[in-house]
C-alpha cells in the first residue's frame, strides 16, 4: 500500500468514526457555540463585540481544538488502536498526515460555523473584497491547528493526566495562529485595517502550518513509539 493511500485511509477512518459517533457534531460544535454566547455575556457591548469578533472566533476554535484532539486520541488509545496500527507497519508519518487531515476537515467545519455565529450574534459582516483572504486564512488555520494538535495529542495520548496536560502544552504553541489568524480575519471582515493588511498575517499562519507540518512528519514517530 502506498504512503498516500495509507494516509488517506486513516483520514477516512477517523472521519467515519466521527460521523458514526456524532461526538463532534453533537457535543463539540454546540460547546463552541455556547462559548460564543458566553463571550457575549462577558463583554456585553455591541460595538466592542463587532470589533473583537475575529479574536473571539479564534479563541472558541482553540478551546474546541483541545476537545477535538482529546477525542481523536481517546478513540485511538481505548482499544489500543494506535499500537495495533504501528504493529501492522503503518508508517508514523502517514498516520500523522491522515489524522491531521481528518482533524483539519472537522476544524474547517467548526470555523465556518463560528464565523456564521459571529455574523448572527455579534453583527459581523463579510465584505466581498475580503472573501479570498477569509477563505485562504480559513484553510491555512485549519491545517496549522490540525497538524500541531495531532502532534501534541500524540504526545499526551495514553499518558495519565493527559486531559490536563494537553492545554498546557498546546495553548502556548498555537499562540502565533491566534495572533495571525485573528489579524487576518479582522482585515477580511473589515473590523480593522484594509484587506491588503491581512495577507501578511495569513502568510504568518501559513509559515506556522508549514513548520509544524514538517516537524510533525519527523517527530510523530518517536513521540508515539513506546
Amino acid at each position: 500500500m502506498t504512503w498516500r493511500r495509507t494516509a488517506w485511509l486513516i483520514a477516512r477512518r477517523d472521519l467515519l468514526v466521527e460521523w458514526r459517533s456524532r461526538i463532534a457534531l453533537n457535543q463539540v460544535f454546540p460547546f463552541a457555540g455556547i462559548v460564543m454566547v458566553m463571550f457575549g455575556f462577558a463583554i456585553d457591548d455591541t460595538s466592542l463585540m463587532e470589533r473583537i469578533a475575529p479574536g473571539l472566533v479564534m479563541l472558541a476554535t482553540m478551546f474546541a481544538l483541545l476537545v477535538l484532539v482529546q477525542r481523536s486520541f481517546a478513540v485511538e488509545s481505548e482499544d489500543g488502536a494506535l499500537d495495533a496500527l504501528r504493529t501492522a507497519g503503518v508508517s508514523s508519518s502517514a498516520l500523522f498526515w491522515g489524522k491531521s487531515l481528518a482533524m483539519a476537515v472537522q476544524l474547517a467545519a467548526l470555523e465556518a460555523l463560528l464565523v456564521l455565529l459571529a455574523v448572527l450574534l455579534y453583527g459581523s459582516t463579510v465584505r466581498a473584497s475580503g472573501v479570498a483572504l477569509l477563505l485562504a486564512t480559513w484553510l491555512v488555520t485549519s491545517w496549522g491547528l490540525a497538524t500541531v494538535g495531532t502532534l501534541y495529542g500524540g504526545l499526551a495520548a495514553g499518558a495519565r493526566g493527559r486531559e490536563t496536560l494537553l492545554p498546557l502544552l498546546l495553548l502556548p504553541v498555537v499562540a502565533p495562529v491566534l495572533i495571525g489568524a485573528t489579524r487576518a480575519v479582522e482585515a477580511a471582515l473589515g473590523a480593522r485595517g484594509s484587506v491588503a493588511d491581512g495577507w501578511p498575517w495569513m502568510g504568518l499562519v501559513a509559515v506556522f502550518a508549514a513548520v509544524f507540518c514538517a516537524g510533525g512528519t519527523l517527530a510523530f514517530g518517536p513521540l508515539i513509539d513506546e
Partner: protein, 271 residues
C-alpha cells in the same frame, strides 16, 4: 560499565565531590561579592535611581535561564542523535530545564518589580517580555511531560522530542509577537535599553553577576543531575525488589530465588 562511577557517587550519601565543594564555595563568594557591589559600591542610576540595583539580579537570572534552556535543547539533541542514547544526556536536559524554570520565574518576578518602579506598570506587551512568558510556560509543560511516568527511556525520548519542538516554537512565537506589537506601538515612559547608560562600575557589577550566576548554574546542574541519577537507580532497584517479592510469594515453601537477589545486594540504596 559507564554507570559504575555514578553508582559510586550515589551510594555515598551526598551528591557532592571535592570539586563541587570548591565550586560551591566560589559561587558563595561570588554572591557575597555581587551583594557588596550591587547594593553598596555601585552608584544609583541618573534616571532609574536605586531601582537600577534590581537589574544586577534580573539580568544574570535571565542569562542563567536562557543558558539553561539552550543546554536542555543541546542535551536533548545529543540524546536523540547519538548512537548510544545515553540517559545521562536526558538527565542533564531535565536538570537544566528545572533550574531554567526556577530562574525564569525569578527573572519575571524581579523584572515586573523593576517595571513597576521604572515604567509605572508591572507588565508591557512587548515582544521580549511576552516571549519570555511563553518560554516559561513551555518549559513548565516540558517538566510536566517528564513526570508522565513510564520507563526512563520513554521519558527520555518523549521529553527530548518535546525540547526540540520548543526550539521550533519559540522563534515563531517571538516573531509573531514582534509583528503583533509592531501594529500598535504604545507610548511608554522609558524605552527598554534606549538611553540607559552604564558607567564602568555598573558594567563591572553586572558582569560579576553574570559570572557568579554561571558558576551557580554549573553547581546546581551537577547536583541536580546526580540526584536524578539516584532517583532513576532507585526506580530500577525498587522494580527488582518488587519482582523478587512476587517470586517469593509464588513459591512459599522454597527459599527465595537466588539470582533475583544478586543485583539488589550489589547496588546499595541511598537512604
Amino acid at each position: 560499565m559507564a554507570e559504575t562511577s555514578t553508582v559510586r557517587t550515589v551510594t555515598g550519601r551526598t551528591t557532592s565531590t571535592p570539586h563541587t565543594r570548591v565550586l560551591g564555595l566560589v559561587t558563595l563568594v561570588g554572591v557575597a561579592w555581587l551583594v557588596l557591589f550591587g547594593l553598596v559600591l555601585s552608584p544609583a542610576d541618573q534616571n532609574q535611581g536605586e531601582s537600577v540595583r534590581i537589574l544586577y539580579l534580573h539580568a544574570p537570572a535571565a542569562w542563567l535561564a536562557y543558558l539553561a534552556f539552550v543546554v536542555t535543547a543541546a542535551a536533548s539533541a545529543l540524546f536523540l542523535f547519538t548512537k548510544r542514547h545515553s540517559l545521562g544526556w536526558d538527565r542533564l536536559a531535565g536538570a537544566s530545564a528545572e533550574i531554567g524554570v526556577l530562574f525564569m520565574a525569578i527573572t519575571l518576578v524581579v523584572g515586573m518589580l523593576w517595571g513597576r518602579l521604572t515604567w509605572g506598570v508591572f507588565w508591557r506587551w512587548d515582544a521580549r517580555l511576552t516571549t519570555t512568558a511563553f518560554l516559561f510556560v513551555t518549559y513548565i509543560g516540558y517538566l510536566a511531560v517528564r513526570r508522565l511516568g513510564g520507563t526512563a527511556e520513554q521519558r527520555a525520548q518523549r521529553s527530548a522530542v518535546l525540547a526540540l519542538l520548543a526550539v521550533l516554537e519559540i522563534p515563531l512565537v517571538h516573531f509573531s509577537v514582534k509583528l503583533w506589537r509592531g501594529l500598535h506601538q504604545d507610548a511608554t515612559v522609558l524605552r527598554p535599553n534606549g538611553d540607559v547608560k552604564l558607567d564602568n562600575l555598573m558594567l563591572f557589577t553586572l558582569l560579576s553577576g553574570i559570572v557568579t550566576f554561571t558558576l551557580m548554574y554549573v553547581w546546581l546542574v551537577i547536583h541536580r543531575q546526580r540526584t536524578l541519577t539516584a532517583e532513576d537507580l532507585l526506580d530500577d532497584v525498587g522494580l527488582e525488589l518488587a519482582l523478587a517479592e512476587r517470586r517469593r510469594e509464588s513459591i512459599p515453601s522454597r527459599p527465595p530465588v537466588p539470582q533475583a537477589e544478586v543485583p539488589i545486594t550489589e547496588v546499595k540504596v541511598p537512604s
